[in-house]
Symmetry: C2
Amino acid sequence: MVHVVAVDVGGTSVKAALVDRDLNPVETLREPTRRVDGSVDVAHIADLITRLADGHEVAGVGVAVPGIVDDATGHVHTAVNLGWHDLPLRSRLRTLTGLPLLVRHDVRTGGLAEFTVGAATGVPNAVFLPIGTGIAAAFQVDGRPVVAGGFAGEIGHVVVDPGGATCNCGQVGCLETLAAAPAVGRRYTERTGREATAADVATRLAEDPDARAVWADAVAALGTALTLAATLFGPEVIVLGGGLAEAGDALVDPVREDLHARLTFQREPRVVRAALGQDAGRAGAALLGWQAAEQG
Amino acid sequence: MVHVVAVDVGGTSVKAALVDRDLNPVETLREPTRRVDGSVDVAHIADLITRLADGHEVAGVGVAVPGIVDDATGHVHTAVNLGWHDLPLRSRLRTLTGLPLLVRHDVRTGGLAEFTVGAATGVPNAVFLPIGTGIAAAFQVDGRPVVAGGFAGEIGHVVVDPGGATCNCGQVGCLETLAAAPAVGRRYTERTGREATAADVATRLAEDPDARAVWADAVAALGTALTLAATLFGPEVIVLGGGLAEAGDALVDPVREDLHARLTFQREPRVVRAALGQDAGRAGAALLGWQAAEQG
């Protein structure tokens, strides 16, 4: 039986899986990211792929990476967390593995899964917004991913609160300063003196007004940013994912209501929770592997 | 010699031209828009095309229209100024003229010209921003226009001043409330009690502090909106056009500086003035006509 290998490269670990036609993982490997002089070792990633492929017929490989990545060429412009700069990742990995292989930005890889087999299946104009340590978006317009050489989709850094906190990126009041998971936890702690994660804040919404206030700020920031997306891109569906979306309706319902209240003439998108959860990255990388197989 | 017909449909007049391969107009017609029960008469537009085509070999027709227009199908969702709603314009005009014909949103038609033979020729990721009575943008990403069923590009209605003036669209502080040509004139008049158009304001920048203050607000609003575009789309070039860009360097230079000061990690686009000026619409419609000819 023919399989593909799906790889997700992160700053702390590399996850790889042998995946079948139905996107089910048959075998998985997870190893700490290996670094050479601070840069993640490409040979180690190739080695993981080769080990998983050993004894199987592998038609293609899909690799998801963070950073500024040109999906068309598989060239990594920069990936700060991985210590990569101007790295022709796709051609390196093809040479090392000898397999058809495609590289894509990790958020756009998750988007590929949600737009193909997930919460926005078959919708030509859609946004996938995973909210975790950081926030970035995968935009699909007219049925095609928006890449722009890897520079598209940095919605975590649209300014939603010009008088707000300084962001790591140097701007003031970015979406991430109010709605990324660490910001939600930190803002609750600053307000109450009590340590809490974003998940803790989500569980306290019913009884804790401070939790509600911090959550409401995150929701309003998301509503503001998604209004911009609706005005510029006209999406039909917005898919909320990542750690913060684990809160389920407690996130999706108020974001939908906030967005509804802001929109006037724009097409109103449906706001839904991601269907694939933590599996979106692997499913997307597997879909990419099957694309690589077709392209040869 | 083979020609195409380029048509630009506006609320007050319809402009049509017989255009050659080099996009030069050979013959032009301009007539007041004819209305039937408030709706612009499609048969009149077809008649203009037929009259221009008479005695010539016409390979195709390109038609630019305002409103929410799906370029892919030539279906007009709404065009308030023309009194159109759910109008299958392309199929109607094809039937009436018997010619290969394509329809496109007027701003995206101008963008097609600037991206093909104008200020951003051959640039895969670019924005065309005509600033006139209203403001909308044509986005090109990865070498393709961003359409989203006609709902994309409404950059005139991104909120840049949440505490500002109410916009016609119902939102507060849209880009148009500070930077559209009528807003620049109105804000100067409110401030000084003296009647002025945006063009007047532009000519007074050297000696009049009130003109400078109003102009600076428009520039900052444009810088804010274009920062959002840079963050979400990663354009390489931004082309400023429309009436306000007639001010030339007095607009382009400060917008470039404002944008430069705002960007931190984003790819910095070049900011340039439109190359085609008032001819962008006709040139784009002619290019569309040649596309129609190829598609048959």
